[in-house]
Subunit: 335 residues, 4 copies
């Protein structure tokens, strides 16, 4: 951490400030005196140094971090890729490509079991489906709730596919005990109370990137879960909010190699929510695999025009079958 | 709502689609046939029409809303300004200017009572202070929690100032029973489960705008609270996330007159979080008042360099006294 | 084009407005009367209708385009892909993958000829290099200017590679006569005077997307060139400006399939400027090819640490050789 | 400038790098050795240090500027406000409030003279009007061009108001000789060739902020003009591009105090283009004055519904008269 002091700093202020830093944190301090400013360099574990506290000092002109503020999610301290075992045959982050497929919302037993069987045949290894739905409008369909969870379990029983579904409040954690992967949605990426509580479980977590979260903030949210004891975090890029309105969100494909460089956690990509249009799912999914994603989460609905949510971006099972074949073929070509 | 159909739509598809729309929603449908496309116009209460469902239809090229998707928050259906009475002497939205002032975090009785007395003398009519703090890093100070709430109540007792403080999870609602205004932070603006539960209370709610929420999404979050029965919602503009990095956020001053036009709810502005720098608080607060804000929420700390959070943007009580004087003088000049 | 009128519109205003529309433009007008508003639908060629003129009418609540505002660049009116022949062996947009490679700035004969020979061996089919450099700072190296153009021609002579280089002002057009592809940089995407004049030449144009240009604005800039007579336009995605700061820009990989859907023009991707970091070039280039790009433009420098501009994002010839091999292998796997 | 080196740096690399820095630039270098990294501090005039060159070094982890990259526009080296005298009675930056008013496009003598007389009576001290219009569509009205300039001069003769109008290409500079203030539009803010040539004139320049330009880039564009010899630069905030679509752009009101802190140049605000809606002009203009702007540029049209461009955001002369009265009254209250 590098701290640039104002030219007006007095020797007394300087010495009281550096003394405080040494006492509060386990750091050593270097110092240079330039023409216009004095610069301090903090050496040691600066993860715990509160940058806002430093910025607030009257004598401080500006502060820059050199070290990343996350530790458990940081590849520097954990060079090996994290692999998350979901079932005997599904391990995410082990170099293979996993596709989580299914409808935006669970609607009925027939629907979810039918889709599950179909996507399994096409090569999907996990079933996604929403039971609790975060909707912008209070008047829109909010999901089948606990009934939806039960239907997902029925579909799992019939197909053997592990299930991924979204949680929306702390008090539901017990209800999600028998879910294979708990998803934290983009709008809850900084619901810190939820992250903390999920950190106290041992469930694999699929942490979606917030609509306008920086990569660093996203890793800090992973750190919240990990700091509370749960290391099984997967990061899911689902498009970010930009000025472009043709696509619902802008898929940040760079996030894949960047996360791979900064962290050891697996990266999943959601081309369905990024695009908001079903014809964009294939090219975005192809791009994600080519850029190194560990997995994809894709919306599939047997009858998109009658889907109760997000139909515009859902593939039919037939379309999914074709897309999945191309994705696995691309993955084989890359190895 | 206007729906443009694809040129390939068959007469059968068209009639089955329009029939379904008429059955599902209480709307009448007009239709034109252009050279390249057919256009449908839905007339009636389209608030409940699920735009995603429409977009998902194979035959639909695109859909445009004419009517806003929010109803209870809409000025069209509630032309008078909403006034929210907090105490006998404090009513927000009645044309007077209210300043909520206080520290980012409550730190000690001495601190919070001292600041409360000081800001009251300078003209603040409400005391703000964080007991539960949403922090990006799990390693940063997270607030004094329930002890912080107790200290706020002590300060209220001593000064008579009603208190405003942030809630972070549903299970805390009971604990906030004796708070005057409950704040929902920017990161929880779309924590829909929290919004619903707050809608079931009768507490005044200060709803901060999400980091990258559109004005429409923000009003939809207000609608969540109102649709569940609680009409006492104030909207708080606190800066949005843009590409500009000099300021922490970009204060969207246009949001003030826009909200005033679209909605009847009061608008509060938070220049401290928008700017992230104490020297920007005064000019941004002045701009907010000149643009028509009903109130301001300003961070004041007796000792910003030693604040446990957000010190860089806090004013000292002396600075606040000066700024408040200018703000009230500006307000008087505008009437 | 759909025009929603205000409830207050009088019959006289309505008839005078519709009469004017019919006179000014070759359109027919349909009309519905809803409960709260009257809606007009304009049918015909609305490309020339000035949307700002419509919005300015007192009686107009809002206006929505149904038809795209570009015509010559629109795939609807030109369903076949545009193929642009550069030399006998290089045609862009014909389904093959072309890589334009070379240094950010031309620095010396030895440098540019050496890099040209090297990238040609690795499979590049065009040579890129800047002679005139748009630099944020007036104190930074501004390019070798006309001498740089001469050196590019020398390199072309030695290697047979056609050359791509950036133009910065109208008065240089004559100087660029013997260049194979003229590049318009991101900062000049809406330098309309330059676009018009380039439209009067018959040179292939590589039109980079502006830093915050929407896809529609970008296509409108292509339309400027085409409306003036020059159909040889290639669109180059080079990253857009977002709030994320880890990457220099955010590569909008969705733009590739979107442009392919909306337009018939070829799409080139610049992973070097998008990323700003050389280690990101490979994954982003792979993603671009997988998403359907017709070509790539990649910075290669024999000695990146001593490059006079953009060294941080340049590959060495050895790195480029490896990346190019992977890209061509991926392209073959996709066919 | 602070340079963090990679842990793998060898002593030879380090000494050859620091030697090169000392030779190329007039700087002294300090160095610390941390546990994980070595840090270099460059002291001296780093304005001319090419940050891209430094970033490109293999041994460099990252670089941070401490000193701003602009010099002539920097308040540190020019503490006094710049005042730009336009006529005997109009000096911009001297503490008074100046309003530049007039139509988006000059359309006829009657129109421009009529508007000029009217806005002068309301207190405007300069006349704005577009002769050359940058339009997104090649099919939209492009301005009366040189005839428009002549009409502006006629209006100046009749009213005494100095004129402000936009230039779009270098070859027009001679034609603008008799204009009082030359405007550079947002889309040309980084048309560096134009900036350089304007730097060789002695005309006052109104430099609009680019659609997605950072404050630093904007100041660097001012620096381009100033580095070529012309110090008469005014900066015009006109809204930036964000994800919010309700307003055409988002007025960055913080830019006013930030520019005042970083630079000595006057700041003008354009509420008309920022908002895109005439009813937003008044509150945004009020906010701008309250935040410290030196002037405003406001669109006024005698007949907005028939304006050939930007009618939706234009005020009528009557509306302008009312708004101007409020603005001058606010300005008086602030002193």
């Amino acid at each position: 951490m590098i701290i640039v002091l104002k030219p007006s700093t007095t020797p007394e202020q300087l010495s009281s400030f550096t003394e405080k830093l040494r006492n509060d944190y386990d750091v050593t301090i270097n110092r240079w005196d330039g023409v216009h400013s004095t610069v301090l360099g903090l050496i040691g574990d600066t993860t715990r140094v509160d940058i806002e506290y430093i910025e607030a000092q009257d004598i401080v002109e500006n502060v820059k971090r050199v070290q990343e503020p996350y530790k458990k999610a940081n590849r520097k301290f954990h060079p090996e890729n994290t692999e998350i075992k979901i079932t005997d045959s599904v391990t995410i982050g082990d170099g293979s490509l996993h596709i989580m497929a299914g409808p935006c919302s669970v609607e009925s037993e027939e629907q979810i079991v039918g889709i599950a069987e179909s996507v399994r045949k096409s090569g999907a290894t996990l079933l996604r489906g929403g039971a609790f739905k975060p909707r912008t409008s209070p008047y829109a369909f909010q999901g089948l709730r606990s009934e939806g969870l039960d239907l997902l379990k029925t579909a799992r029983k019939q197909t053997g596919l592990p299930i991924v579904t979204e949680i929306m409040r702390v008090s539901h954690i017990d209800m999600f005990e028998n879910v294979d992967i708990i998803q934290v949605g983009a709008r809850n990426m900084q619901n810190f109370e939820l992250l903390k509580e999920l950190g106290r479980t041992d469930k694999p977590i699929l942490l979606k990137r917030g609509l306008s979260a920086t990569i660093e903030e996203w890793l800090m949210s992973a750190e919240y879960i990990m700091a509370n004891g749960n290391d099984k975090v997967m990061l899911c890029e689902r498009g970010i909010r930009t000025y472009e309105t043709f696509t619902r969100n802008t898929l940040d494909v760079s996030a894949i190699p960047v996360i791979k460089k900064l962290s050891h956690l697996p990266v999943i990509v959601d081309p369905s929510h990024a695009a908001g249009k079903s014809w964009l799912v294939e090219p975005l999914a192809m791009a994600a695999v080519a850029a190194g994603a560990d997995g994809l989460i894709i919306e599939v609905h047997n009858d998109p025009p009658h889907a109760l949510s997000d139909g515009a971006q859902s593939l039919t099972p037939e379309q999914f079958d074709e897309v999945a074949a191309k994705l696995f073929s691309l993955k084989r070509a890359l190895i």
